[in-house]
């Protein structure tokens, strides 16, 4: 990743022509060859850019980026204020279900959210068809399998139903009841779950995190 901050003017010649007058900007040159020109606003969105595959040639004061269609991004550099390169290494990828994993961890830590007297058996309880998010016991000692979701949808109910069927074959655990715990539960999912005797619990992520809102409250 190469970061250049420069006073520059940018012209794009291709299907469309675009012109950016002389100003101070950030030019990002990434390992994939892409070049993008950013101003100090509009978040992630560059003013202009060229996607890979494309090639950068640097002449004195004029940088030209070309792609295979012959389109050109011409950066006329007046003054370079900063120029540095960094090795970022491989990207581990965006973990989209981070909240879900965190919800599972938080719920395991605060298992009494499901009801008074609940005790945790373990997280990620292994079964032949994959791990159950949380296995716990209720106040009466009955085993309860919990499926944690951000959004409770039909798929989550089906998944939990499969686990319950399997777990109920284990004489040491049976009878096992189910809980679908989610931040938001779709009405169809709730209907299906309740029809199958699965309890639905809406989780308050912020309350679980202890990050209570700072709104003034009566209690």
């Amino acid at each position: 990743m190469r970061l250049v901050i420069a006073r520059c003017q940018v012209d794009y010649h291709g299907r469309l022509t675009a012109h950016l007058p002389m100003a101070t900007r950030l030019v990002l040159i990434k390992a994939d060859g892409s070049v993008s020109i950013h101003s100090d606003d509009r978040a992630y969105k560059p003013l202009n850019w060229m996607s890979p595959p494309c090639w950068l040639t640097e002449d004195d004061g004029t940088w030209t980026v070309r792609n295979k269609n012959g389109e050109e991004l011409v950066i006329t550099v007046d003054e370079v204020l900063h120029d540095s390169s960094h090795e970022l290494g491989a990207e581990p990828g965006l973990v989209k279900d981070g909240v879900e994993a965190h919800l599972q961890q938080l719920l395991a830590e605060h298992i009494t959210t499901l009801g008074e007297g609940y005790t945790l058996i373990r997280r990620e309880y292994p079964t032949a068809i994959g791990p159950v998010d949380i296995l716990c016991k209720d106040a009466d000692g009955t085993t309860v399998a919990v499926e944690v979701k951000r959004r409770g949808e039909l798929e989550g109910v089906e998944q939990l139903t499969r686990y319950l069927e399997l777990l109920n074959r284990d004489p040491l655990l049976a009878p096992v009841t189910g809980v679908l715990a989610a931040q938001q539960i779709k009405p169809q999912a709730r209907t299906l779950a309740e029809d199958r005797g699965i309890r639905c619990v809406t989780l308050d992520y912020d309350a679980l995190r202890g990050a209570e809102s700072d709104d003034l409250r009566l209690f």
């Binding site: 009405p187 169809q188 209907t191 299906l192 309740e194 029809d195 809406t202 989780l203 308050d204 309350a207 700072d214 709104d215 003034l216 409250r217 009566l218 209690f219």
Partner: protein, 377 residues
């Protein structure tokens, strides 16, 4: 089954029962309305019932019964049909697996559902007392405004009903406001005390429809089965109770105040509605009290802003206090009178709204406790 009923009576009954039916029944029969004409005793009553294991509703309608019997049909469809029928007597006949509805020249034939699959309707719980239907309807509406809508906190989605001899107390809170109503009623012999939590929506729906009739409402309670029953003339409804602990609310009620304002409710509510148009999604409306005047202000430099000044009676130091305009309006519009008293101590302690009678004295029986919101900066 072969019966004849008045169109209006039937339409009202079916509409009332169908309202409490689930929108997505997990078992199709639960979306049905049960028509029960009893035995073949000529001039009897037709009962129309609905039940979804949570709420049940039953209405009796006078009918000429040629042949008794029971039939279960889709509730929504029957409600739509009866509402649209012309104003003439309605004949209902069962023929095999279909039910025929004839009214004037209009004829409908609907498929029926098996009556034997329908759950047993709950019996009315034991009678605990009675009260005026109109007053009850009003009281429930005044309290229900403060109930929570958030399912993560089930105890806040209910209305707590407290029976203490001849006093009936109803309370609801969503942590930001609390509404409390206290009034006298006629308890049944031997009933001294009880406290239950009723789903606010169910209670509000039942009280509204029973209260509209304007007659006496009878209350039944079965703590063992967790059920509350309400009945008016010809109408009975039961609802499941919430199995949750209501927060100890008595200690939240402030006993002292340092500032007191007397508000003209219609003028203030109108002004708040106007001013809060610029408060984005009901963020806040600021109340600036000085001697003899109240300045309402909302919005800020980055957005639209509005202000309005009203004359009020105010005792206390000049102060600025801010509220969520919707919550404030909920409280003011729930008041039974046109004059209200607003008392508070500091801008971050709860404020109390109470109705005032014609002589300017606090009208006992209702209060609305409201938490202010933080002032900017």
């Amino acid at each position: 089954m072969k019966i004849r009923v008045e169109r209006d009576n039937l339409a009202d009954a079916v509409a009332w029962v169908a309202k409490s039916l689930p929108t997505r029944p997990s078992v199709p029969v639960l979306g049905g309305v049960l028509l029960d004409a009893g035995g073949d005793d000529g001039d009897g009553a037709l009962t129309v019932s609905g039940f979804d294991y949570e709420v049940s509703a039953t209405v009796s309608v006078s009918a000429t019964i040629a042949e008794g019997g029971k039939v279960l049909v889709s509730g929504r469809l029957l409600a739509d049909i009866t509402k649209a029928l012309p104003d003439q007597p309605v004949d209902i006949t069962v023929d095999g697996a279909r039910v025929g509805i004839t009214c004037g020249n209009a004829r409908f034939s609907l498929p029926t559902m098996p009556v034997e699959d329908y759950p047993q309707l709950p019996a009315q719980p034991q009678f605990v007392g009675e009260l005026d239907g109109h007053a009850f309807g009003e009281a429930v509406a005044q309290v229900a405004v403060a109930s929570g809508k958030d399912d993560t906190l089930p105890m806040l989605t209910g209305i707590r009903l407290e029976i203490s001899g001849e006093t009936l107390t109803m309370v609801a809170t969503d942590r930001f406001r609390l509404a409390l109503k206290e009034f006298t009623w006629k308890p049944a012999d031997g009933v001294t005390g009880a406290a239950v939590l009723v789903p606010a929506k169910n209670l509000a729906d039942a009280a509204r429809s029973l209260g509209a009739a304007g007659s006496t409402v009878r209350l039944g309670l079965s703590s063992g089965e967790g059920m509350l029953g309400l009945s008016g003339p010809d109408r009975h409804t039961t609802t499941r109770l919430l199995d949750a602990e209501f927060p100890p609310y008595r200690k939240l009620l402030p006993s002292q105040y340092t500032s007191r304002a007397v508000l003209d409710v219609p003028a203030v509510t109108e002004a708040i509605r106007r001013v809060s148009l610029v408060a984005e999604r009901g963020t806040q409306v600021r109340l600036e009290f000085t001697e003899g005047s109240l300045r309402l202000a909302a919005g800020g430099d980055d957005e639209g802003s509005a202000e309005e000044e009203l004359p009020v009676t105010y005792e206390g130091e000049p102060v600025v206090i801010a509220f969520n305009p919707n919550y404030l309006l909920d409280g003011l519009t729930a008041l039974p009178t046109d004059q209200a008293e607003l008392t508070f101590t500091t801008p971050n302690r709860p404020a109390l709204i109470k109705p005032l009678d014609d002589e300017g004295k606090v009208a006992a029986g209702y209060l609305y406790l409201l938490m202010p919101v933080r002032l900017p900066g």
